[in-house]
Amino acid sequence: MAGSSMTPAEVDHHVAVYLRVFAALLVLTVFTVVVGEFHLPVITAVVVALVIASFKGSLVAYFFMHLKWEKMIIFATLALTVCFFLFLLFIPYLTSGTTPTVIYGS
């Protein structure tokens, strides 16, 4: 091995996992489109679409980005990021009723 500490058998195992994840992502993508055709109520559609997208994103992060084999410091960094991201995402709800409806209503 020139640059890796993994054995060829370990690499082959990784490749087999990558290909299975690829198949799962394709199936979930088609599933996302099929669910979108059902014209579900907005809230249900948003929840279903984001649950599927989160599952797909987790597969990418866990296997392709090697989080499955990653050290604690990376998880700590990501946990902090997720906290800030959720705060950012919920700012509109935390401040609801303050300005946007006034702008549209005027």
Binding site: M1, A2, G3, S4, M6, P8, V11, H14, V15, Y18, L19, F22, L25, L26, T29, T32, V33, V35, G36, V42, A45, V46, A49, L50, I52, A53, K56, G57, V60, A61, F64, M65, H66, E70, K71, M72, I73, I74, T77, L78, L80, T81, F84, F85, L88, L89, I91, P92, Y93, S96, P100, T101, Y104
Partner: protein
């Protein structure tokens, strides 16, 4: 005192990971906040937008929120989703090829990654062209403004990824002969970035096109 950055190709004794990888993850964290701000804008604008009347259009009701599929092409977006997921696989396979000391395999898979990236941009250009043909510009309505901002920023990230991957495929690959561990680390970091770009699209696809 040396100004050389240490622990680039070997794990730092405290963190257990290379400084290069930790730095890349911190960069990804900042990218999460960048796209997070735009997603937050999406949530705010959408949750406060008036409901689109039954026979309304974005031209007559620019503030109302249309269903993405009614004005965007889901088949083209589906093709782009498959292209991007495929490019993520070829990217990780290029890293796996290096792990097996297979440099030719690395170049082949990296070549596919770059080709698929151009394929993504090509399909996106067709999609933009169709929008412009129908006079659907960012200034037309709130939805289109967000659509072009989010997909445009994502497209810029694709172009950035192509530049880095092309560098690693040709001029940068000379490092494989002299410092293979460091080169492998670079490919892994480029892969992390590329998978993040794929991950962003995984969320953009349903949010913009299907809801």
């Amino acid at each position: 005192m040396s100004s050389e950055i240490r622990y680039i190709d070997e794990p730092h004794p405290v963190t257990g990971v290379t400084n290069a990888k930790l730095g890349l993850w911190l960069f990804i964290a900042s990218e999460v906040m960048l796209f997070g701000a735009l997603f937050s804008s999406y949530v705010m604008l959408r949750s406060t937008a008036p409901v689109m009347p039954e026979h309304g259009t974005i031209l007559t009701n620019p503030l109302a929120w249309p269903r993405g599929a009614s004005i965007l092409s889901v088949p083209l977006a589906l093709i782009n989703t498959i292209i991007l997921i495929s490019s993520s696989v070829t990217m990780v396979l290029s890293w796996a090829s290096l792990a097996k000391n297979d440099f030719a395999g690395f170049r082949k898979n990296m070549g596919w990654t770059i080709a698929l990236s151009f394929g993504f941009l090509f399909v996106k250009a067709i999609e933009y062209g169709l929008k412009f043909e129908h006079h659907m510009y960012p200034s037309k309505c709130t939805f289109l403004a967000l659509y072009f901002t989010l997909t445009g920023l994502h497209g810029l990230h694709i172009i950035g990824g192509i530049v880095v991957n092309a560098y690693l495929m040709y001029p940068g690959s000379a490092m494989w002969k002299t410092e293979p561990r460091r080169f492998m680390g670079r490919v892994e970091c480029a892969g992390l970035y590329w998978h993040f770009v794929d991950l962003v699209w995984i969320f953009l696809f349903p949010v913009l096109y299907l809801l």
